[in-house]
Symmetry: C2
Subunit: 421 residues, 2 copies
């Protein structure tokens, strides 16, 4: 009897994480001699710990195929980080217990840096416990911060969304600038790195000039310099767009978003960086402004996904199964850039020991010298990732996203396990 596989989605979901699930399950279904059933964790790794497994064999081929065009995490995800083997010993032992009783031979974990680390530990522990499991990490993160791989599935689609939205809102403001709005501020995700903010720089190109100022978390916010730049743009173009990362910080290390804003009752408000920046421009320069906070809209926007991103996400799921079938363990499939212009890529792989706990930051030469824009090298890197459109099917004017049945696998263990979330 072939071993079963376990698959879980981890951390913040994306527009294309289900495309990886699709690639993984469709490929596994082609090898019934090697892989039994694919069980998914309901709400990620918590589903494994609580023995709440989903039997994906209960889903039709059509439903699995529809995952390719459905954003969000179809099986549920979670923010739950397993710590080191010493601190989270009970959790790891429980995982082994659940995997053993459900005859799991393959552990596929679809996530970012934290889940790569968990994946590595599962592999190490399973060997030590005499119940070897092939652990394969499937890369996913809108934050694009995994090492070795050229980029991370999920990021390309957010980048496309931010680039397109910035272009659209900017030409709207350009229309209105004579009598009304002169500055538009868009807040984007990325608490630690400016990858997503950088994508705002793609709104402007040789044929579509748009005065854009980007505020990166990598660059200490210099209010006077920023105001001078806004003023310069408005005087030259009559309008200006600002893309601010939620991770932009004051010189004292505080986030712009933590501007000490209080409501009428004196309660501290969790504001956003965009209104802080907009209000500061209004006060200092008097310009009319509008601001937007894209938040989850940016990472869920499957309607505007990058075709490149969808294909890479699918390829990573497929490659994960292929690596498993080749007997690989403790690895992650990667995207290898083989050419820049035209962009081409191939599938590679990396050892998890080189992936876990390594964060890839933006290269220093991707941010322009004044700190407010992207360099040609950055543009070339990013432009490749937003190529192509891959529209979901529509029904009655709305995207027809699939909701799976998510049928539970009967429990076999009698001991409950308390997960402290």
């Amino acid at each position: 009897m072939p071993k079963n596989a376990f698959y879980a989605q981890s951390g913040g979901v994306t527009a294309v994480i289900n495309a990886s699930a699709c690639g993984l399950i469709e490929t596994a279904r082609k090898h019934p001699d090697k892989i039994g059933k694919v069980y998914a964790g309901r709400n990620g790794i918590i589903g494994a710990l609580t023995e709440d497994l989903i039997d994906t064999s209960q889903e039709s081929d059509a439903a699995i195929a529809a995952l390719r065009h459905t954003p969000s995490g179809a099986f549920g995800s979670c923010r739950f980080k397993l710590k080191g083997l010493d601190k989270s010993k009970a959790e790891y032992e429980r995982l082994m217990e659940v995997f053993k009783v459900h005859d799991i031979g393959y552990f596929f974990y679809n996530g970012g840096g934290d889940s790569a680390d968990t994946c590595l530990k599962v592999s190490q522990l399973s060997e030590k416990m005499g119940f070897p499991i092939q652990a394969i990490h499937v890369p996913k993160t809108v934050h694009n911060d995994l090492p070795i791989t050229d980029n991370c599935p999920g990021f390309g689609s957010v980048a496309k969304y931010i680039a397109v939205s910035t272009r659209e809102a900017s030409i709207d403001v350009r229309s209105m600038s004579k009598t009304s709005t002169k500055v538009f501020v868009l807040e984007v995700m990325g608490r630690h790195a400016g990858w997503i903010a950088a994508a705002g720089g793609l709104a402007s190109d040789a044929e579509h000039e748009i005065p854009t100022i980007i505020l990166f978390p990598e660059v200490q916010f210099d209010q006077a310099k920023f105001m001078a730049k806004v003023k310069e743009n408005v005087e030259k173009y009559d309008y200006c767009t600002v893309v601010v990362s939620e991770g932009t910080k004051w010189p004292d290390g505080k986030f712009l978003a933590e501007a000490g804003t209080r409501d009428a009752f004196g309660h501290a408000q969790l504001g956003g960086a965009a209104p802080v920046v907009a209000n500061m421009i209004k006060e200092s320069l008097g310009y009319k402004f509008h601001w937007a906070v894209a938040d989850y809209l940016q990472r869920a926007a499957r309607h505007l996904a990058s075709k490149t991103d969808v294909e890479q996400a699918y390829a990573m799921g497929k490659a994960a199964v292929e690596l498993a079938l080749q007997g690989k363990n403790s690895v992650m499939p990667t995207i290898v850039r083989t050419s820049n212009n035209p962009y081409s890529w191939a599938v590679g792989s990396a050892n998890l020991s080189e992936v876990a706990n390594v964060e890839k930051m933006m290269p220093g030469d991707f941010i322009s010298e004044d700190g407010f824009g992207i360099t040609p090298a950055c543009r070339e890197y990013l432009a490749a990732l937003i190529q192509g459109e891959d529209y979901p099917p529509y029904k009655n004017g709305m995207p027809d996203y699939v909701t799976l049945r998510n049928v539970a696998v009967p429990k076999k263990l009698t001991t409950p396990f308390d997960v402290k979330v």
Copy 2:
């Protein structure tokens, strides 16, 4: 010699106002015996007052055709309302002077309620001054508040954007609700009427159930009732989506967005309704939340335009010229709903005297009894307007929006005119 035409865009721009310009200019070009050149006002009516006219005959057929898929206002718009003939006498006289010297026989004004009123006055005054101009209003407003016409071009695309974005972000939150975000709050436009907020109700349907609470400007905000509803949804579904109109008000008539928020220096902040609602949920119920403010993204999102909306916007521009050629004056082409399911529509027309200064509010039977949702009648009305997709062409992964040359018509008047904006 045929008379020239003047065209101007007024007020907030939309994803499809340029489609109306496209329909108008393309149709005018087919009748060179009746219509000379089409001059556009640079930055709307201000361009007429300052004799800053754009010669659209300098644009290629391809550039004009590209207007159909380009959001924003290609000639610039403005927020500048002409008052009554008594108060704004100088402005109206100046308009006549400019129109006369440029041999304008047709006045096409593309806007909402205010511009319908201006259009009517131009027609009345031009007759009185012995220089008759046919004034035709071309409907446009994301606020959907013009009377007589079934709907207003611009609205259908915003509705589609809000419906799709709400569905996408909601299923994202659903994936995360086990350990993380339980409530997602999306702020949408609509200071006076809840048409756009209502579109959030389309995110949920028979096949895609999404617990959605809508906060309408038409319904006085009842904090206790709202909290109870959020709690009920989260307890039942483990998550909940809130679509809040920027126009939602406290019982004392103040906007939610004016929550008295102050920054660290005590300055009043122009916040948003979404963070106010999100913080209130956090404090009262303790749920983790995320919030987004779509702002200009929603009205500029040509990448997700409703095909129905694009076709209607184009048809309104085309019909405006056809009405002019039929000798009509002081009219506005309208959209007439001829069938609901399947939706079909025809072009009609209305007298401006019946359009000017009349605001169409949401019918009372469009809001559900509890005040938090839409009725089946509202769903049927809205669903028709978001039918079909009409994607812009892409180049290098980005929508290829046109920027016109906007060549100025040589000035003929020697007197400058000071517009107080």
